[in-house]
């Protein structure tokens, strides 16, 4: 899918942002605390709502286009349930007391024609009155089997919030990811690509299923790390300490002048991330929307260069929405893709950098920008 614009209000937390138009690559820049991460998280929240979650006190307007080329506008609002004691963290509330917020209103327009019109009194789908349906779930989730809605529901699954903090340990396979089982399930490169497996598992699978794709990823990776001469996948079954067979898949690299192969959990985090990034470029579905917070995290300059290039050039069928503080990254990404984020109290605004005439200067554009009070006083 492609996200075209978003407007979001969090009534409960008292913040909102005005309509932000999104590009194929949108780079959110701004001082710490202006709300860049909130923007990414709110997009991800909408994915969760499309997946059936109830979220307290929010209101949104999202324009998007699905892979089939249909344009939608999705508007909605959840009721706000004020916590009895705002100092109590949510996990203190006993399950029995937990009241799921209801949807107050929801509308979906397909190419300007209304297909969902719903409030606390009525629920109309494509002009037909519907019986009483679950009031805490979005229409997208409730009607996901319906022909008209299926396309929307499936497209929301293409939104990925990339979390760099995941533990490499999590990538060890438990029985459910037993490689033979996966190989039976996904037999071709296309099937693997379309699957909702994570990049690690996709990469492990294509090692056996599609040698040519694996070779391409390998050579791209070696371009960044010329000290690496080979990459392979190894499977290992551990059953020493339990009655279960614990199967692990390891991605190993062989460095020049180093005898032993290095497994992925012993690689540098920047190297491992670069490997996954590189693989993602080949293994992601068309129409994936990737939300990346602090693109630079854990990446050395050698990786940043290549990964930034990939963002700009390699993926016209994938949409990236990223945040960064790193001048090197920001300067590498064309000015036209920057959104300068500012915040006044609870109101976040994102301006197109290209509308902001910096004039001609030999200084880096980002340096010019950070010398401007508009950027420096990002929060007021």
């Amino acid at each position: 899918m492609k996200l075209l614009s978003i407007k979001f209000t969090n009534i409960e937390e008292e913040w909102k942002y005005e309509k932000i138009e999104l590009f194929d690559l949108t780079l959110l820049v701004g001082v710490s605390g202006v709300g860049k991460t909130q923007i990414l998280k709110s997009i991800h929240t909408l994915k969760e709502i499309a997946g059936g979650q109830s979220v307290n006190g929010i209101k949104w307007e999202l324009e998007f286009q699905t892979l089939k080329g249909n344009k939608y506008l999705w508007l909605g609002e959840f009721e706000t349930i004020n916590s009895a004691n705002e100092l109590n963290p949510e996990f203190f509330i006993e399950l029995g007391d937990l009241k799921e917020p209801k949807i107050i209103s929801e509308q979906i327009f397909l190419n300007d024609k209304i297909i969902i019109d719903r409030n606390s009194e009525k629920f109309q789908f494509n002009g037909n009155e519907m019986p009483k349906l679950n009031s805490t779930e979005s229409a997208i989730h409730i009607l996901k089997e319906e022909h008209l809605i299926k396309d929307i529901y499936e497209n929301f699954n293409l939104i990925i919030l990339r979390d760099h903090t995941f533990k490499i340990v999590d990538l060890f396979d438990l029985n459910q990811y037993r490689i033979e089982k996966l190989k039976n399930q996904f037999k071709t490169f296309e099937e693997i690509k379309k699957s909702d497996l994570n990049t690690f598992h996709k990469l492990v699978l294509i090692y056996d299923v599609s040698k040519s794709a694996f070779e391409e990823i390998k050579s791209r990776f070696i371009e960044v790390f010329p000290q690496v001469e080979n990459i392979r996948v190894a499977h290992n079954v551990i059953n020493e300490h339990s009655n279960f067979d614990l199967e692990t898949s390891l991605i190993q690299i062989k460095e020049k002048n180093v005898q032993k192969w290095i497994p992925h959990h012993k690689m540098s985090s920047g190297m491992f991330r670069t490997l996954l990034h590189t693989a993602e470029m080949y293994l992601w579905n068309e129409g994936t929307v990737i939300l990346i917070d602090e693109f630079e995290n854990g990446l050395g300059l050698n990786c940043i260069d290549v990964l930034t290039e990939d963002l700009i050039y390699e993926n016209n069928k994938i949409q990236f929405i990223a945040t960064s503080h790193h001048p090197y990254i920001i300067n590498k990404i064309p000015y036209d893709y920057w959104k300068i984020v500012t915040r006044k109290g609870g109101i976040i605004k994102a301006f197109d950098a290209k509308d902001f005439d910096l004039g001609k200067s030999h200084h880096d554009r980002f340096m010019n920008l950070i010398n401007h009070p508009f950027y420096k006083q990002g929060i007021s």
Binding site: G359, S361, H362, H363, M367, N368, N371, P373
Partner: protein, 157 residues
């Protein structure tokens, strides 16, 4: 007359210089983009620290040559532990090596702070408490008391 400032620091200098300029030449107005300079304006570019500020200085010279409305380029740096003279030679050499020559209509001036800009503030007796509350500050005073000694003579710990 228009002035172009290059400041090493991103925090102290950018607060200090506009106030200071306003005090000395109150009829000068700050602009925030080079292109907005008309008459009696000053533009401040800061950031990056040493040595990246050296390259910013070269870029500033190129900007001034492209748009010759500036009369003075004032480069403000810290002497730090290498001292005023050495820092001055370093920046001059960097400009010379770049082969970028400032147009003769504009004059370049260097302001090298002895140690750093904050050293100047330590000379202000109203700022420095005789018996500070913080343990770290007490330690510093024990090392070198700026109330009784010249802060610019301060030596490294």
């Amino acid at each position: 007359m228009n002035l172009y400032f290059i400041l090493k620091g991103e925090k102290t200098e950018v607060l200090l210089y506009p106030k200071w300029i306003n005090y000395i030449i109150p009829h000068y107005k700050q602009v925030f983009l080079e292109k907005d300079v008309i008459e009696n304006n000053f533009y401040i570019f800061s950031g990056g620290g040493i040595p990246s500020i050296y390259n910013h200085t070269i870029n500033a010279i190129k900007n001034i040559n492209d748009n010759p409305v500036f009369d003075k380029l004032i480069v403000c740096l810290d002497g730090e532990d290498i001292g005023i003279e050495e820092r001055l030679q370093e920046i001059k050499k960097h400009i010379e090596n770049s082969k970028v020559v400032l147009n003769p209509k504009c004059k370049i001036e260097f302001v090298i702070q002895n140690i750093c800009i904050e050293t100047w503030f330590l000379g202000n007796r109203k700022i420095v408490k005789k018996v500070p509350e913080g343990l770290m500050l007490r330690e510093f005073i024990a090392h070198y008391n700026v109330n009784t000694n010249d802060p610019e003579e301060l030596k490294k710990i």
